[in-house]
């Protein structure tokens, strides 16, 4: 079985796993009363720490979201893409990525029924998923023994600097890109006792440690250069006192994000939607439109009237009038455009008016 954990320098995965296990489950159950969950037979859990949402994926391929503060189930989606046991939250935008047995990866948010993104990544089932915390790097591992790195801005395969840990059987391998030329090479290999099957590997964000979960428990190894050496006291502080922790808890509850803030590009919040530029129709399109309007005017059938009002000459005249009427807006538009063009040209000419001394160097415009 192939397992992947990506990133290193700024990886947040630690948060999603260790934080989740140590803090949210234990502290949530103790402080918020230990909600009884209707998640079904959950295979995988993920915690969106800023939204206080617990996401789960069950055997039937259903996705559940539970609000940890109120204890209510807030979302329930069917993925309808088959059994899967890989699910990972993207730390950049808190969008949930789910890998499926058909080789597709889908991304979900709480406020939409359909997946935001559905991408075919592998030819076989997906065995592992990992994100780089800078938003646009995703690593997927497939049953067909391939690891792919994806640029989430363009949704195609790329490589970028960072460290990647992969595990097969009882062997862990760390890949790194130290040259910066998108060339991942082997950095460190480590094999644990034979016969142990590695289920999952995870980097710790602020330590040079890789945690390995295997069939006989879990162990950890040192990977130099994998952790973030400078932590921020206001983001994560491993030396915090009890008072600081209490304060942080209150503050994080005050800053609980509403589920609508989960979106593919969270930097869009507070910005103005660009106005859609009005497409200018091409000349051919306009001509076609005019033709169609004239055809429509030609094909109008008139009522049969008495007292000579339906004489062929009258009918022809009426028809002509109808055609002229249909043509009129187009002609007007054309005239207006021509006038604008003329004005523009005139303005340009005025601007180009050179001083007298330089005029003799100006190119002569042919008068005809």
């Amino acid at each position: 079985m192939l397992t992947v954990a990506l990133f290193l320098f700024f990886s947040f995965l630690f948060f999603c796993f260790f934080f989740f296990l140590d803090k949210s489950l234990t502290s949530c159950t103790s402080e918020f009363g230990g909600h009884c969950m209707g998640h079904g037979a959950a295979l995988k859990l993920q915690f969106l720490n800023k939204h206080f949402l617990l996401a789960s994926k069950n055997k039937l391929g259903q996705l559940h979201y539970e609000d940890n503060i109120t204890g209510k189930m807030v979302g329930n989606f069917r993925t309808s893409l088959g059994h899967s046991d890989t699910m990972q939250v993207n730390p950049f935008n808190n969008v949930l990525a789910v890998g499926h047995s058909g080789g597709t990866v889908t991304m979900w948010k709480l406020t939409s029924k359909a997946p935001l993104v559905k991408m075919l990544c592998h030819k076989g089932p997906i065995t592992a998923l990992a994100f780089h915390s800078n938003s646009h790097l995703m690593a997927t591992a497939g049953m067909e023994r391939k690891i792919k790195l994806w640029d989430l801005r363009k949704y195609n395969i790329i490589f970028q600097k960072g460290l990647l840990a992969r595990a097969t059987g009882s062997f862990v391998q760390i890949w790194g890109d130290f040259s910066g030329s998108y060339d991942y090479s082997r950095y460190i290999g480590h094999s644990i006792a034979k016969g142990y099957q590695i289920q999952r590997v995870l980097f710790r964000i602020y330590e040079d440690v890789l945690g390995i979960g295997h069939s006989m428990g879990w162990s950890s190894i040192l990977i130099p250069g994998s952790g973030e050496p400078n932590f921020d006291t206001w983001v994560a502080n491993s030396f915090e006192t009890r008072k600081q922790r209490n304060e942080k808890e209150v503050r994080s509850l005050l800053d609980k994000l509403p589920p609508e803030t989960i979106m593919l590009d969270p930097t869009k919040i507070g910005s103005v939607r660009p106005t859609r530029k009005k497409e200018k129709s091409t000349k051919q399109e306009r001509e076609a439109e005019q033709e169609a309007a004239i055809e429509g005017a030609k094909n109008i059938s008139f009522k049969k009237k008495t007292k000579g009002r339906s004489k062929p000459s009258k009918m022809a005249k009426k028809n002509q009038e109808g055609i002229a009427k249909a043509k009129k807006p187009f002609l007007e538009q054309q005239a207006k455009e021509e006038e604008m063009l003329k004005k523009k040209r005139k303005r340009n000419e005025e601007e180009v008016e050179l001083p007298k001394s330089l005029q003799r160097f100006a190119r002569k415009v042919p008068t005809t």
Binding site: F10, F12, K50, P91, F92, N93, N94, S133, N134, S135, Y206, E207, D208, L222, P224, G227, E228, P229, N230, F231, D232, T233, W234, V235, A236, S238, F239, T241, Q244, L254, D255, K256, L257, P258, T261, P266, T267, K268, I269, G270
Partner: protein
């Protein structure tokens, strides 16, 4: 080969003694703080809500007068003191900190209509409908603190009797002169029992007068013939005049941009003018639903406070078309005079119900000494709120004010009326020859003529 691995010793990252501050380490890498905009937005929303919760602008009422308050004056030399004059001829000096009367100045027979203090804060000038101008000695602040009996009565320094009733008085900045408004505008000196100079333009009564804070020889008056006149003491005749469609009740000069003044008009609006260009208002401040009775600028010059006949006090930006704040209570009646305190953090209003009321200038501001961390937090929340104020949810919360039913109904009625007038105008224009009915902006529309 030596390989380095992260190892952090507790000594390095925690404080040495329990009295020390906790150590703080920063890393501003954006990858560590994801969803920053969303977090800021939520904080802005919460800050806006908290502002609403903590908006308790009313500090207290000062009662003691037995008739409506007609005028007030602040002492430029003493922050806590404020003078008020009432319709029964009573003048009182209040201590804003303890909200009690410090001193009374009895003597006026009729209503006191004008009060002002000289720039050095020593002399109080009052005038009233009994056609007298009285000069009083202002008690020394140290004496005010030690002496808290309220029946401390003062004797006037001088009493000058003149021919007509007075409507307003204002003292020159950094000078010996003061001006009274009545049947004409009179300029007085402290030491002379008769006006040194008199101005008259038309036959109507001047009802308010204000000296320019920047140029001590210039003053603006408004009269009951709907005019605003600007006088220059160095000239023998008035300088300029405009006639508006409705009467101007009061005028205030912007202390930071002394060429600009704002006129509180009878038609519910305030008009900011540039004194050099009187043909059009610089800004029209709308929101009141009844005549604006008094106006006073904040010493910062960025906002001003107005009191209105609709029983409310509003605060406007100096360049904002609508008010940023409205203050009202159930018991407050018609507001006749308002003053901004000299430190721009309080507002005093005097109303028909014989009370002076003390308000905070910023409704949700925390009073008292702030710790540095508290102050930082307030600044941060203010900045975040400012950044996201255009988003609809934040905007809705920040803008919303609870209005008394009467004001709410009158405002909606006014809106309907202006909308109807606009529509009618539009239709009239559409059905007449092009160009025959020119459209005029509101800033010009209310001015009838400008006279040089």
């Amino acid at each position: 080969m030596k390989v380095k691995v992260i190892s952090r010793s507790t000594d390095e990252f925690t404080r040495e003694r329990s009295q020390d501050l906790q150590r703080v380490f920063r890393n501003f890498d954006p990858n560590l703080r994801t969803q920053e905009k969303a977090v800021e937005y939520v904080r802005a929303l919460n800050a806006a809500k908290l502002d609403k919760i903590f908006a308790r602008p009313f500090i207290g009422a000062m009662d003691g007068h037995i008739d409506a308050i007609s005028c007030m004056a602040k002492n430029p030399n003493h922050l806590k003191g404020i003078f008020s004059g009432s319709m029964d001829g009573d003048i009182r000096l209040w201590d804003l900190a303890s909200r009690r009367t410090v001193c009374q100045f009895p003597g006026h027979q009729g209503a006191v209509r004008g009060l002002t203090v000289s720039t050095d804060g020593r002399v109080l000038v009052s005038c009233g409908t009994d056609a007298t101008v009285r000069l009083w000695n202002v008690p020394v602040p140290t004496l005010m603190q030690s002496d808290d009996c309220s029946d401390n009565e003062a004797k006037p320094l001088e009493v000058y009797v003149w021919k007509n009733a007075f409507w307003a008085v204002d003292h020159q900045w950094d000078g010996e002169l003061f001006a009274t408004a009545g049947a004409q505008v009179d300029i007085w000196n402290h030491n002379r029992s008769q006006p040194v100079n008199s101005f008259e333009w038309g036959k109507d009564t001047a009802i308010s007068v204000r000296f320019n804070p920047g140029e001590p020889n210039i003053l603006a008056t408004s009269a009951s013939d709907r005019s605003i006149t600007i006088y220059d003491l160095r000239l023998s005749s008035p300088a300029r005049k405009i006639v508006m469609r409705t009467k101007t009740n009061s005028i205030a000069w912007n202390p930071m941009e002394p060429m600009n003044f704002t006129a509180a008009n009878e038609d519910c609006n305030c008009y900011s003018y540039d004194a050099r260009r009187l043909d059009e208002a610089r800004c029209v401040h709308k929101d009141h639903v009844s005549a604006v009775m008094d106006i006073d600028y904040s010493p910062t010059g960025r906002e001003f406070v107005t009191g209105s006949y609709d029983r409310s006090v509003r605060i406007f930006q100096y360049n904002g078309g609508h008010s940023r704040e409205i203050y009202h209570t159930k018991r407050m009646q018609r507001v006749f005079c308002v003053k901004f305190s000299c430190d721009a953090s309080y507002i005093v209003s005097g109303s028909d119900d014989t009370n002076l009321r003390l308000w905070k200038a910023k409704a949700s501001e925390q009073l008292g000494v702030l710790l540095p961390r508290e102050r930082k937090k307030h600044e941060y929340l203010e900045a975040v709120k400012n950044r996201y104020k255009h988003l609809p949810e934040v905007k809705r919360i920040v803008r919303h004010r609870h209005l008394p039913k009467a004001i709410y109904k009158a405002a909606s009625l006014r809106r309907i009326m202006t909308e109807a007038a606009r529509k009618k105008d539009e239709r009239r224009r559409a059905h007449s020859a092009p160009g025959s009915i020119p459209s005029e902006s509101l800033r010009k529309k209310r001015i009838i003529q400008e006279v040089e």
